[in-house]
Subunit: 443 residues, 2 copies
């Protein structure tokens, strides 16, 4: 195994699950390790406290007259359940079939670390980088980056830059360089339905009291028509229509046909809003998804209860020019309007982030396309992304810089799922990409 892979494996072994308070110590240990690693690679690095998990900043010596580039990444990861579906343990990385298998291998440790190693390599080869570089590594991306915007505001001068690069998005196919120019936003909430003040015997009381599990199901069911179109009033009002060139280019993108989606997901059938391809549905159309639903007895056998309460966790993926706060207002109005009788509804708003969109043919976009071509030997594809990186909009608003989305994730990377993986080849391309990118951006 190469020294680069050995260092990545060290990084992947930290169970830095940001959403689970039991892992707070692991998240911090991971941040401290990053400070040490960045220093060893020739950067000057520091850990910054936040009200949540720490931020790590690593820089070369900035000099006047050079472009300043900020590279963002996150060292926190998603939870790992259901654990029994993993082939190897999530925090004991392994290489099988040319891929690195571990939680965070793609999202985002593998991608961010290739940039860090790329910068270290250039420093080792040339003594310095061709630009002023600032690495910004956060530990709260998977919980919606609640403390990053305040951090950006507080350290606006230290983080001042001309352009930002992030590798936390997808490649359309193995070996095909990809530049993203759009991301979906997100707006989350949890709905708790309260009924009786305790679980009730469904024989003794069934028929005379409302069942919170039924009520939460009715709320979930009220969100879509049979084809998957969202029924929240005004939901599509601000959705920017797809442009003709986008539909044309995306139709040629490999790996994102409806058949590809079926194969990658293993879903039994195609599904979704009529009139849109799977790529269009996921890159340019908004959604309403229930990410979790629970109520009553879930164990072995049966238990004939009417549960005291039930809940559902929702996330709404948004596209330009939808506004998360406006959408949450419309969703709350929808739940009010569709509130089932006989229960009490509690809506707890969650994290959110605006959708993102930039012009791919502006100066830095063209530089990034050249770097991608250098690193991969092919013309890049221009796409949007279905995922959400709310911080990208914050970076734009607070630092005033556009972000280049230079993703290295493959569609079957299983991010957020069991058996997350990252090809060794993508890790190595990422190192080359960082070297070419800083060179192109210095011009």
């Amino acid at each position: 195994m190469t020294s680069e892979l050995e260092q990545l494996f060290e990084f992947l072994r930290f169970p830095s699950i940001s959403t689970d308070s039991r892992h707070a110590g692991d998240v911090r240990a991971c941040a401290e390790w990053l400070v040490g690693k960045s220093t060893a690679l020739g950067l000057s690095a520091e850990l910054y406290e936040t009200p949540g998990h720490p931020v790590v900043i690593a820089k070369n010596k900035h000099q006047p007259g050079r472009r300043t580039v900020l590279i963002y990444g996150h060292y926190d990861v998603q939870p790992v359940d259901p654990l029994d579906l993993w082939t190897s343990r999530p925090f004991e990385p392994e290489i099988r079939d040319g891929k690195i298998w571990a939680r965070g291998a793609t999202d985002n440790k593998g991608q961010m670390f290739s940039h860090l190693l790329g910068a270290g390599k250039t420093i080792a080869e040339k003594g310095d980088l061709p630009v002023n570089l600032t690495f910004l590594f956060e530990g709260e991306e998977e919980i919606g980056s609640p403390n990053l915007a305040p951090f950006l505001k507080e350290h606006r001068e230290m983080l001042a830059c001309d352009v930002i690069a992030v590798s936390d998005t997808g490649m359309v196919a193995p070996g095909v360089p990809t530049m993203g120019y759009g991301l979906r936003g997100i707006s989350c909430c949890e709905v708790i339905v309260h009924g009786p003040n305790k679980d009730l015997h469904s024989g003794l009381f069934g028929g005379a009291v409302a069942n919170p599990a039924t009520a939460v199901a009715q709320l979930v069911a009220s969100l879509h028509d049979a084809e998957g179109k969202v029924l929240v009033e005004g939901f599509y009002d601000d959705v920017r229509p797809l442009e003709a060139w986008e539909r044309e280019m995306w139709a040629k993108v490999p790996g994102v046909s409806d058949a590809d989606f079926l194969e990658v997901t293993g879903s039994p059938a195609t599904f979704g809003e009529a009139g849109y391809s799977a790529a269009e549905q996921t890159w340019a159309r908004p959604t309403a998804e229930v990410n979790g639903i629970a109520g009553g007895y879930q164990g072995e056998g049966s238990k004939t209860v009417i549960p005291a309460s039930a809940m559902a966790k929702f996330s709404f993926r948004l596209v330009p020019d939808q506004d998360p706060a406006d959408i949450m207002k419309k969703v709350q109005a929808h739940f009010d309007k569709h509130r089932p009788a006989g229960v009490r509804i509690e809506v707890v708003p969650g994290h959110d982030g605006r959708p993102y969109h930039v012009d791919p043919q502006a100066e830095f976009g063209k530089a990034a396309q050249r770097a991608l071509k250098t690193a991969f030997g092919k013309e890049p594809m221009l796409i949007r992304e279905g995922g959400s990186i709310p911080i990208i909009q914050d970076l734009k608003d607070i630092l005033g810089a556009d972000t280049l989305l230079l993703g290295l994730a493959l569609a079957d990377a299983q991010i957020h799922s069991p058996n997350e993986n990252f090809p060794v080849e993508n890790f190595e391309s990422g190192i080359r990409l960082n070297q070419a990118l800083l060179e192109e951006l210095s011009k």
Copy 2:
């Protein structure tokens, strides 16, 4: 504490949870304890193996020329979760406010044990009982008595009887003797909705694949109109209309007004099929309840996944003359008709039992009413019950005898819920009831 209570506490300390295979040893230990206890009280007792949990039979010496009475009870109990809502531990019985607090205190250990102690007392006082008595104690009532009907068939001669008595139903109010002449039946199933072959990132794939949690919610929501009427086609076809005398009597029964239901359940509002009181809704109208629903992430914080699968556990409470098999066929047809697109549906049938109904003014019914009056000093109320004891219909079919439902459970007994309880007074009345009942039935 009286010796009777001390003996009951010993019985309640067994965590005889029949649905949970981890407690199989506790269920057996409880059965063995019952054999010893019955023997000590002067009966001849034996443990019988079944493919599941054991049955215990205890008898006095049967003599020709006497009535033969069978008393049925169950020594298994419901699960105890959510454990953190119990004031005292479920298997460490305590007396507070004149009540015994423990899992099984009412359902059914407290009630069945008062009969056993009543018989023991009569034997101690008079040397024998006035009738031939057979106690039949099973350990699988809470999982639908899968092995009792075969047991009844195999031991039909040993169990032959003129009449059956069961205390596993409700009293309408403290101190008001109650005879039940009807029970709802039940038909259960679990629905598993299968979507992608793993949990998916809701950003990358949301909009292009069906979400099993949404689909299961749509199935649940398809079952009712806004007032709680069941929408399964043909569901009400065989429902026997309420008779005028029933509606009149039930209107006078204490403790079962809509306001009483609200107070006992703590539900935020009245709810249910229009045109029926809460008593009528629960005693004489069928239901479709979801007892458990689950899919996706349920932990702290958020995890933006589309779950690979989701499930719901259903129970349908049935009234005369609905047939469980017929209802399950109609429910399956309903799920087929309302199957959401893009997912695969698996319906796993569960346990069932027919609704039960007898004439309260036949000979044994009158004897039971006299015994209730002797034990409580008041005229009994005649009611039906919302719960299901499927075995009652099996007893009728296989042994050919009617069952007297002489319940001692109060509405706030919290059976199947945290903080199950049983008044000491009801326990003592149960002992008197057994003595009076065997006397009246001997006439």
